[in-house]
Symmetry: C2
C-alpha cells in the first residue's frame, strides 16, 4: 500500500537519526511534531479529534451515531532513543488507514455498522524518558491514576505533567464513547514469525516480566592511593551483578530472557571510586515460577557478592508484571480473518509489554504481530517488508470491520 508506506516514511522523518533510525522520546519537541502531524491527518480524513488529560490522542469515525460504543485500534508514536521506524508508528498509521477504510465500507453498506470506531496514539508507551512505560494506556484503563502519571519524572527531574503541558498535549477532550474492543497491530520485535515463515500472529497473552532496580551502596574514595583492600566499589559490585544475571539465566536453562540495560553511577568521575551505583534489571518468562526462581537466586547471589567487597544492596523498585492472557474471542476472530485472507497465522505470547496488555485490564484487547527481520527492534535497522506490513494491515482492517458490524 503506497499510502501506508508514505505515511510511515513521513513520520520516520520526525526525530530521524543519522543512522536511519528514530529518536522521538515522549513529550519532547519531536513527539509534539509527530502529534501535530497525526492531528492534521485525523482532521484531513474527517475523523473527530479527541485528546485526553494524559495526552492520548484519538481520531473517531462516527459510523453509528445511535451507538455510544466504540472499537479502538492504535499504538504509539513515541520511540526509544535508538528506535526504528515501525515500532508503534506502524500500528497508529495502519490504524488510521484502517479506520478510514472501514468507514468507507460502512458508507457503502448502510446499516451495517453497529458501533463507532477510533484510532488512538497512546502517550509514553516506551518508558524511555519516563518510567513506568505504557503510561497513557494504563491511565485510560484506570490502572494508573492521572496524578501518579503526571508525577513521573525524567532524568532531569521534569515531570510528565509539565512536559505534556509544555508541548500543548495535556488535553481536555476525553474520548466520550464507551470502549468495547481494542485491537493493536505491531511488529513482533522477535524472530519467532520469521523462524516459521508466518505472516501474522494472533497474540494470546504475555510473559511475566519482573523489573528490579537495585542500588549498590559502597563508599567514595580516591582511585589512586586508597589501599585496594579498603575500597568499597559500588561500580564493581554492579558489574558483578550484571554478569551474574546472565549466568543465572543460563544456569536455569529454561529459555528466560533477561537484561541489564540502564546504569547510573555516582559520582562517575574517573578519579573517584564509585560510592553508589544503580542498575535496572529485567527478567522475563512465560512461567512465573521460572521468573521467581531466577530472580530470587540472582538477588541472593548479588547481595553475597556485593557484601564480599563491602558493598550493600537495596531494592529501589520491584515491578512484577504478571503473565497475562488477551481476550480469547479476539484471538479466534483474528485467526479466522487471517485464514479467510489465506495467510499463515501463528498464535503465541508476547515477551514484551504493549498498550494492548494495559487496555485488556478494562476492555477485551487483541494484538496482531507481523515479522521483524532478524528479530531486531529498538534499533535503527529494525525492518519489516512492505508486503508483510500490507498483510498485517489487511488483517487489521478486516478484523475491525467484523468488530464494528458484529451483532454482539
Amino acid at each position: 500500500m503506497t499510502e501506508l508506506r508514505n505515511l510511515i516514511t513521513g513520520f520516520a522523518a520526525i526525530g530521524a537519526t543519522d543512522d536511519g533510525g528514530v529518536c522521538r522520546l515522549a513529550a519532547t519537541a519531536s513527539d509534539k511534531q509527530a502529534r501535530d502531524l497525526f492531528l492534521r491527518e485525523i482532521g484531513n480524513r474527517g475523523l473527530v479529534p479527541r485528546i485526553d488529560g494524559i495526552g492520548n490522542m484519538f481520531g473517531v469515525a462516527i459510523i453509528e451515531p445511535g451507538s455510544n460504543d466504540v472499537v479502538i485500534t492504535g499504538s504509539h508514536l513515541d520511540s526509544q532513543p535508538t528506535g526504528g521506524r515501525y515500532d508503534g508508528a506502524y500500528g497508529v498509521l495502519a490504524g488510521l488507514l484502517a479506520v478510514e477504510e472501514v468507514r468507507e465500507r460502512c458508507l457503502a453498506n448502510p446499516g451495517a455498522a453497529r458501533r463507532n470506531l477510533a484510532v488512538a496514539n497512546w502517550t509514553n508507551e516506551e518508558g524511555a524518558r519516563f518510567q513506568p512505560s505504557l503510561t497513557g494506556s494504563s491511565v485510560f484503563a484506570g490502572s494508573l491514576s492521572l496524578q501518579d502519571a503526571y508525577a513521573c519524572t525524567d532524568g532531569d527531574g521534569v515531570t510528565l505533567g509539565a512536559a505534556l503541558a509544555a508541548i500543548g498535549y495535556r488535553g481536555v477532550t476525553p474520548l466520550e464513547y464507551r470502549p468495547v474492543r481494542y485491537v493493536e497491530l505491531h511488529v513482533e520485535q522477535g524472530d519467532r514469525l520469521e523462524q516459521v515463515s508466518g505472516d501474522v500472529a494472533a497474540v494470546s497473552g504475555a510473559w511475566m516480566t519482573r523489573k528490579i532496580s537495585v542500588v549498590f551502596e559502597g563508599d567514595y574514595s580516591h582511585t589512586g592511593p586508597m589501599p585496594m583492600a579498603l575500597r568499597r566499589d559500588a561500580l564493581r559490585a554492579a558489574a558483578r551483578a550484571i554478569e551474574a544475571l546472565y549466568v543465572e539465566v543460563a544456569r536455569e536453562n529454561a529459555g528466560a530472557h533477561a537484561s541489564a540495560a540502564r546504569i547510573s553511577v555516582y559520582p562517575n568521575s574517573p578519579n573517584v571510586v564509585a560510592g553508589q551505583a544503580r542498575v535496572w534489571f529485567e527478567i522475563r518468562h512465560e512461567d512465573e515460577a521460572v521468573v521467581v526462581a531466577i530472580s530470587d537466586r540472582f538477588l541472593e547471589r548479588i547481595e553475597r557478592e556485593a557484601r564480599e567487597i563491602g558493598v550493600g544492596i537495596s531494592i529501589a523498585a520491584d515491578e512484577k508484571r504478571s503473565a497475562s492472557s488477551l481476550d480469547r474471542d479476539g484471538v479466534e476472530m483474528v485467526r479466522s480473518v487471517a485464514r479467510d485472507l489465506g495467510l499463515k497465522i501463528e498464535t503465541f505470547k508476547t515477551i514484551t509489554g504493549h498498550d494492548a496488555l494495559a487496555i485488556q485490564k478494562c476492555v477485551p484487547a487483541s494484538l496482531i504481530f507481523v515479522p521483524s527481520e532478524g528479530g531486531l527492534s529498538h534499533n535503527p535497522r529494525e525492518f519489516t517488508t512492505q508486503d508483510a506490513l500490507d498483510k498485517g494491515y489487511a488483517v487489521l482492517a478486516e478484523t475491525l470491520w467484523r468488530m464494528v458490524t458484529a451483532r454482539e
Copy 2:
C-alpha cells in the same frame, strides 16, 4: 593554628554538600566563589594578584625587588563531586599563610631574602569536570598548550576556555617572575603515614599511571523478545571488563592499584540492550613493567571476553603517565627541616597525580604529605587532625624560608 583552621572552614562552606563534603568542580559558579574569596585574601594580605590565561591565580610577595626569581607554593581549590575539605584547599591556604609568615620574617631580617615568593591556585587539578587533570599546572609548565587546554570539554560539551571566560577567570596577567622552585603541601589520601605514625612525608616521586578508556561496541536491540543468543550487549562486556581488571591486579599480586570509576552507556534505556559503552580504567604501580604487564594482559582478556558475546572493543584514550622523580635536593631540604622541627618524616612515592608532578617538568618541585585518616579522600569524610595540619604547615613555612634565603 586558628587562622589556618578558620580559612579551611571558610572555604569548605563554598560548594558545601549536605554530607559535610565539598563539590567545587573547576570553572563552575562555586569555583568562581572560591576564587573570588582567594583573590580577596591575596589583596587583604598585601600580596600582588596575578591571573594567567588558563586561570591559574597567584599572590606574589615581592620580598626581593632586585630579583626576577620566585619560589612558588600552592595547590588547587577545585574538588571532586564528592570532595573533602582538605584535598587541594589545604595546600593553597597553608601556602597563603606561609607566604605571609616568610614575608614577615624577611621584614624582620633585612637582606635575608634572595628571591621572591608566591602562592598559587592551579586550575582544574582534579580532572573531574574536564579531562585531562592537572590542566593549569601543565599549561604553566609548558607541557600542555593553552589552545589544547581551552578545547577540553565537559560532559555537556562546554569547553574549559568558555567556562573560564564565563566565570571571569581567563586572565591576562601572567606571573612575570622566573619560577626557580615549587613546593606543595597536601593531604596524603592514602594510609601509609598513618600506618607508621609519621608526621610528614617528603615525596620522592610518583608511581606510573596508565589511564585507558575503552569503548565497547555491540548493537541495540529490544531487551524483551530479542533472542538471548543474538544479543550483542555492550554493557555486559563492560561489566566483565570491570571485574576482570580487579582479577588481573590480584593475579599479578604486586601491590598495583587499579580502578574503573566512570562509565557511559548508550542509549542507557531500561528497554534497549546497550549498543555502546565506555569505561575509564586506571592502573598504577611504582614499577612501569608491572603496569605494562597487567594492562597488556587485561586488554587481551577483555577483548577476548567481549568477542565471545559479539562485542568489539577499541581504545578511545591511552594516557601513560611515567613513573617520575621529584627534585632530590628538595626532598633532602624537606627532610632536614622536618628533623630540625623534631618531626617524624617518611619518604615515599605518591600514587596519585599532583600539580607538583606537572610543575617538576620545568622547575624543581617538592611535595609534602600529612596523614589522611583511614586513607580516605575524594570523600566527604576526608579528615586530618588540626595538629597534623599544623605540623605540615610548620614544615612548609620553614622550607619556604630556607628556599628564598638560600645562597644558591
